[in-house]
């Protein structure tokens, strides 16, 4: 049910039956390690390419989510997936293994919430009963495609972010036990003219602010209606810009409930990741792992996840285009008292 300009309110409140997250060796050393279902000590996952390793992570996350929900692959009606690789091969190839009707998505790092919003829409409108959505990213595969060959060892400025090696999947059901997806705000593409791919947080921050503002406006809610508002992967630089922009334009969000998945995944005192984590797997693993665990425990009652994506390609960057950005917001409520 559309409300306002760009928000869907899910009257049937689709339940997130189960989620699963898989991570790499660097994520295993982070503060959220315990929230992962499976952690790999080897960046290659025993595969002969990083792309295959990413696909395997996504397969594992999907299989784990299905298993945790006590279902079988054949119980899943639709799978919605996307990732950062060219032609979204990680998702398509994982969908080949799953053998479930598949819709491929691309929203860069916002794909996690793009998938969750669309999966909720399918379930809410009774176009499907059990719908799976998932996304993944792999540090070395993304570095290779978007930046420089990994063996080149190129220096990065402090505004750059570290692509998270992780996959996350969520399984939705029309009814059932689990946190409920209550609404989703679909973002507009916002481009403030930033063209530096080593400052994606700064480029994406205005898109996050635009979507948060739209969400509050469409639903007539305010920041205090949420226990936690988490942006996708703005990192230190983008998070600060978003926070300042929100303060300036209202609605200001109190610092204690406003956070960013790119800051949570590795903690804020990890110099190796520069400005913080990024990538499809960043918001997917933090939301489907850490935040979902807190919702399931009842520590959080209502959260708003604003996954942010930078819609550039290596080619558009080489042709000196600026970076169009997007953010999708999904609100999730705990079913625990």
């Amino acid at each position: 049910m559309q409300q306002g300009h760009q928000t869907w309110v899910f009257q049937n409140k689709p339940a997130i039956l189960a989620t699963a997250v898989v991570g790499g060796p660097f994520e295993a050393e982070g503060p959220l390690a315990e929230d992962f279902d499976l952690l790999h000590g080897d960046l290659w996952l025993g595969q002969d390419s990083y792309e295959k390793a990413e696909k395997k992570m996504l397969e594992e996350a999907c299989e784990a989510a299905i298993r945790k929900a006590g279902l079988q692959k054949q119980d899943i009606q639709f799978f919605l997936g996307g990732d950062l690789m060219n032609q979204i091969i990680s998702s398509s190839f994982a969908a080949r293994t799953l053998a479930v009707p598949f819709l491929g998505l691309y929203g860069a790092c916002s794909t996690s919430m793009e998938g969750l919003a669309l999966a909720s829409l399918i379930v809410d409108s009774r176009a499907g009963r059990n719908v799976l959505c998932g996304t993944s990213s792999h540090n070395s595969a993304a570095e290779k495609q978007y930046r420089y060959p990994t063996e080149y060892g190129s220096q990065k400025p402090p505004t750059a972010q570290w692509t998270v090696t992780a996959a996350g999947a969520a399984l939705l059901d029309r009814e059932g036990d689990g946190p409920k997806v209550t609404s989703a705000t679909i973002g507009r593409v916002v481009d403030m003219g930033v063209s530096d791919p080593f400052n994606m947080g700064g480029a994406m921050a205005p898109a996050a602010v635009d979507t948060i503002t739209a969400h509050f406006r469409d639903l007539g809610v305010a920041a205090r209606d949420y226990d936690l508002i988490a942006t996708g992967d703005l990192g230190k630089v983008g998070y600060k810009i978003a926070r300042d922009l929100l303060k300036k334009h209202n609605p200001a969000i109190p610092d204690e409930i406003f956070t960013d998945c790119g800051l949570l995944i590795y903690g804020e005192d990890q110099p190796a990741v520069l400005a913080g984590g990024s990538g499809c797997g960043c918001s997917a693993s933090v939301v489907y792992g850490h935040i979902m665990n807190r919702l399931n425990k009842g520590e959080l009652k209502k959260v708003l996840i604003v996954a942010t994506g930078a819609l550039l390609s290596p080619l558009s960057y080489q042709q000196k285009e600026s970076i169009p950005c997007i953010a999708h917001a999904v609100s999730i409520e705990s079913n625990k008292p």
């Binding site: 990083y50 070395s140 570095e143 290779k144 420089y148 060959p149 990994t150 063996e151 080149y152 190129s154 220096q155 400025p157 530096d196």
Partner: protein
Amino acid sequence: MEAYFWAFIVGGLICVVGQLLFDVGRFTPAHTMSILVVAGAVLDGLGLYEPLIDFAGAGATVPITSFGNALVHGALTEAENTGLIGILTGIFEVTSAGISAAIIFGFLAALFFKPKG
């Protein structure tokens, strides 16, 4: 001891220029490297790089600017000996050891290790 000192200072300063191009000039790593190579070539064309090597030794030969210097230096030397065609034959004369070593060691490393990430 003094030679070490000047090598350190001059080599370090060339790297500072590279870092400034990177951080302040917002050039990509590839552009930064190319600018330094071209700068070395231009300096040698003006006859300034050889005196810098005499003064700073490894401080001037180790940074990538030295590669630009070597390209031009080889071409100019060969041009003096054999005329204009020397510009073509001389470019890789001084640098051939470095380029051949890169190819051969790159090949050997690729035989034993996974060459691509």
